[in-house]
Symmetry: C2
Subunit: 343 residues, 2 copies
């Protein structure tokens, strides 16, 4: 029997389809209420994998709606007990379990002072689902793997639907409807050339814009399941300092979606390739990928805003593969449990 992690990775196309089939009405209903209110900015509370969904939310709301997004630092609420000015804020809590105290607390405290509160969890009966004015359910079924996969892409899709509805859409558009099938196609593809990372003990993952979330989530999955010291960067942030550490043979994974970020990331691939770094590439661009020591080709991903849902899939597969290659159990990361208690 396959491990939970692989099973749940494979379930993602069905989860995405289920969300499209059952949650769009709830999203439209919440959006029509919120559009009547004076929402000027968004505060997102999340931890771990959900915090990477929050990075995606930042680009979504800022680029598509022009609303600045502030990631909540839970300690500001729980430890320093600050009274935040939230009158014009939509406060969103993202948590698979809906029980992490440090994510629940900002939503609870926002209570009636914010312009609105929304919980995105995998459990309609969870404390956060109860505490928030609105709740979107991930519809992912039980997640047994400690390393979250299907709840992450479900979070991304619900955030995208919310941005779409807040922007005034009333119908699902074609690129979204194609998403479950595209995910299925990506998951039928495989990695080429990953065995060579059996003894890699560090790497960086680079992307930009919407897929900064993908780089960060990829790094987290690698740290959790294969104990590789991994760090996710935007290409811009990498160039402002950390790039110094990347010399000959240093493994760099590039997430290269089509769209506005393509040109800049490609230039960085070339710069680091010329410097002798070990290139790992996820892209639709076969020519670019041909420079890589290991690659994963994506077969058509639609608009850049949606691409993080597809481009993270190869990284989930890679994290699991490396875990197995290193003789570890991807379902049992050292020292972790499914619900992380407060902090």
């Amino acid at each position: 029997m396959a491990d939970h992690m692989l099973q749940e990775i494979q379930e993602q196309p069905d989860v995405l389809q289920r969300i499209l089939d059952t949650e769009w009405e709830a999203v439209l209903a919440a959006a029509s209420v919120l559009r009547e209110r004076d929402v000027r900015y968004v505060v997102v509370a999340a931890r771990g994998t959900s915090d990477n969904a929050a990075v995606y939310a930042k680009y979504l709301f800022e680029v598509l709606l022009g609303m600045p997004v502030s990631p909540a630092s839970p300690s500001v609420f729980t430890l320093y007990e600050s009274e935040m000015k939230l009158r014009n804020a939509l406060v969103i809590g993202i948590s698979q379990s809906g029980e992490s105290t440090d994510v629940l607390e900002p939503v609870r405290r926002a209570g009636n002072t914010a312009a609105g509160t929304l919980a995105i969890t995998n459990d309609e009966t969870s404390s956060m689902a109860q505490a928030a004015e609105f709740h979107f359910c991930l519809r992912a079924g039980e997640e047994k793997s400690v390393a979250a996969t299907k709840t992450y892409t479900a979070q991304l899709l619900l955030l995208y639907l919310l941005a779409l509805a807040l922007g005034g859409a009333e119908e699902l558009d074609e690129p979204i409807k194609r998403l479950p099938d595209q995910a299925r196609r990506v998951l039928r593809t495989g990695w080429e050339g990953t065995a060579r990372y059996r003894y890699a003990d560090h790497l960086v993952v680079v992307s930009r814009g919407f897929n900064l979330a993908t780089a960060k989530e990829a790094a987290l999955k690698l740290m959790e399941t294969s104990y590789v010291v991994a760090e996710g960067f935007s290409g811009a942030d990498l160039s402002h300092g950390p790039i110094a550490m990347i010399g000959q043979d240093f493994p760099v994974v590039f997430i290269v979606p089509p769209g506005k970020v393509y040109r800049d990331i490609k230039a960085l691939v070339e710069e680091l390739g010329d410097r002798g770094a070990e290139l790992v590439i996820i892209s639709e661009d076969k020519d670019l990928a041909s420079r890589a020591a290991a690659k994963f080709l994506i077969d058509g991903s639609g608009p850049e805003e949606l691409s993080p849902i597809l481009y993270v899939l190869p990284m989930q597969l890679l994290a699991r593969e490396l875990s197995l290659l290193k003789g570890l159990n991807p379902d049992a990361p050292r020292g972790l449990s499914k619900v992380t208690e407060t902090w």
Copy 2:
């Protein structure tokens, strides 16, 4: 002759004193204008070291003033060309040179739409100083080292003074006046036991709250100057996944200031110590530090909100020491120059 990096590290007490002597009036003047406006949240644009100052700003404005802070993702402005809702936002750009296009652009675009714009740079004639309504000067003198040190602590101090003035203070308080002397005292102290990291190629730096900025800046300095793969975490974020990678002998640097975060970080020191991690500790707590393989004792640091200015000093020294130990030149990080062009 000492390298630039060490010289500039040593200049910091004088720079801090100079700011207190010459910039407080400018800060008061800006604050009295801004207090008349309807500022409800803050957007901070920065990259690299300055972006770690922005992390400090987030805690300052959120905890002391209850104003949510949104770190600007420059690509939202430069690449996706979003029209952001900034009517109630104070937009702050932080940049040593004041010339980084991707930091300049958000400040420029905010222009007249924001509630106010402020540039914090080391050059009153810089493009960003000209573009913003207000300018605070770092007064650090020329920074020759590519790895920024004195401009970072200068940024922190100016941000603290701004928060103080926005909160209604009219005079500098005693803890601030003591800061230059405290910095002098820290810089007279030395590390114990760092030679053992000659061959370390990765580590993590952990703190929480205000000193999350310190953990991130420490990691950046290490990556830039000693090419160690370093990552800065809040203890809470570490516990939500990355902690899995920390096994026997994994080096973990703990920044343990006194204050509200003390108890939680101490618990994590104990947990990872019991797990066999290699502990490096910066603290005022001699008992706690006695568990460490390498330690740096701080002799009294005042309030937690100000402690990041002092607690980063040992990490600057450590980054430089490791660079020399590894046979590198701390003044010449591979592939970096002082002003990073756009991205």
